[in-house]
Amino acid sequence: MKKQLLVITAISFFSFCSTAQTILGVDVSSYQGTPTWTSVRPTRLFAWAKATEGTTIADADFVYNETKGTAAKVVMGAYHFAHPETNTATAEANYFVSIAGSYIKAGNLLPALDLEDPPSGTALTSYFSQSALVSWVQTWMTAVQNATGVKPILYTTGSIANYLGASLTSYPLWTADPDGSPTVTPSKTYLGSWPTWTFKQYSFTGTVSGISGQVDMDVFNGDTAAFNSLIGPTVPPVCKTFYTTVPYSTSFETQWVYDSCAEATQRLPDKFWKSSIGGTTPDYDDYWHRDDYTGGDWSSPTNGAYSPTSSNGSYSARFHNDPPPAGSTGALDLYINLSTAGTKTISFDYIHNEASPAPFKFDVVLSTDGGKTFTDTLMRISAQVSTWTTESVTTTATSSTGVIRFIVTDKGTNDVGVDNLSVTSTPTGIDEITTNSDMVVYPNPTDGTILNGLFMADPAFSTMEVHIYDMMGRDVLTQQVEIERGRFSMALANAHLVAGTYMFVGLSGSERFMKTVVVK
């Protein structure tokens, strides 16, 4: 991939460094069908292809255009048609990045936000206040830049550019000024507060060899050096590792985000995850995705799908391996700080409905060195699990750079699903943690209505904050208690504690008291 990038950049460089010329391009969508990009290239040096619209429409020809255009040495880019009247900016940015993320990189055009009046309904300038529209655009721009490391460009009309004011002028402008001329400078009425323009869409009705029907025509404002500078190496994304903390939970409901630090097309539940492939014949189709993924990694995504698609909410994390290179693996890693004291419980729902799964294994393995080595196999499942089933495993690891890896080696028939994941902590080793154990609680076991405490010696404090945790680490009751002559009493009835084992944690200043309490 890196080589390909260099080649594309080099081609772009050699293409545009020889002579001064007007740098012309087009922007296309499925309205143009499938252009013959080798016929386009002699007269059009760049092209934006529509990737997405709103949060549900992925242009059917986007991948074709990006792939064939790039192969024909056209400098390609991706654009998103906004529907601010319908969706949040964050949802639209995430959707765009999930589809177009792997095509946003050095050597390509800037990712573009197409901001224009919706095909039906009210004009944006009537629908939104200026500040609301500016805020929507700013949020989209920031989200895309954060996800890709590339500053986006804004495509818009003169009337909207004027309406937006000066707040967004740090983003380059691609102005819609269909005056039919690639050489005439757009008048000020098309630029709003922008001091200059970067691209101009000079026709909505152009014709270009290799493209059937009419097409939008564009021109770059600058010479070859400026163009090369624009598409050249950009600020690389910060490939930082983020560790979540305990407790952590997810049901994989949100749209998975593009992993801008990876060369492939991985998408991840959130920034605390990474994914990788390995084994004997690793291929892109071995990557985990949210179960509804339909992108290029997975061939025939309906093959091997499990039902229902989730055990909690609508979506799950899914390992799909079709066609099946036997022995290849797909790993999904959660980076998590496990330094919280006590036993950590990893709980998740699991499905793999395959009667004869061998050769197959699903492992939950743990790294305590930030993913360098995985030495602790916490769990292995190698048999059929035909319905969603809750699995759980514990660890007492205290590494601040823990990585919990879900790794599948599959023969590639039916898919594997994981959902409803949680990592919680249950305090244990009370004596190690408690510095002052001169206190007892009684009755213990209790009937769940009242709990009393007695200090062996009068404490120096008169109040204490008490937390009652269940064995999943959930704080089921918090109460401030008064201490008189070394004694306190607290009502439990309102907490409706079910029979079981609980942790009593009393806090006052730097003092901490921990006891195991049984409700019968």
Partner: protein, 112 residues
Amino acid sequence: MKKTRIIIAILSFIGLTAFGQDNTVVGKITEVSPYNDQYRITVGDASLVLLVDPKDETHSTFEINKKYKNILVKKDGKFVLNPKYADKTFKIEFEINGKGWKCIKTIEPSKK
């Protein structure tokens, strides 16, 4: 027999795709509104776009046949349907532009 049916089906599809697209609308203009620095005109259920003539620096005429370049007139700073064309039925031919808009090419009176 099956082959014949398949061939007929394919030919029918090609015929419809290549020659069967109807790029005309007949009806009265019921609404005019600004749309991306152009004008959106509603005729029945159809939403058509009237492109501003880029050669006209005053942006007051449109890219259609000469006879109807005055289809819209300015009133109180906004373009509205020329009153003399109100309640008239037109046959409007359009073509799809690069954005997928139905751009009006010609307007003719209709006998309907």
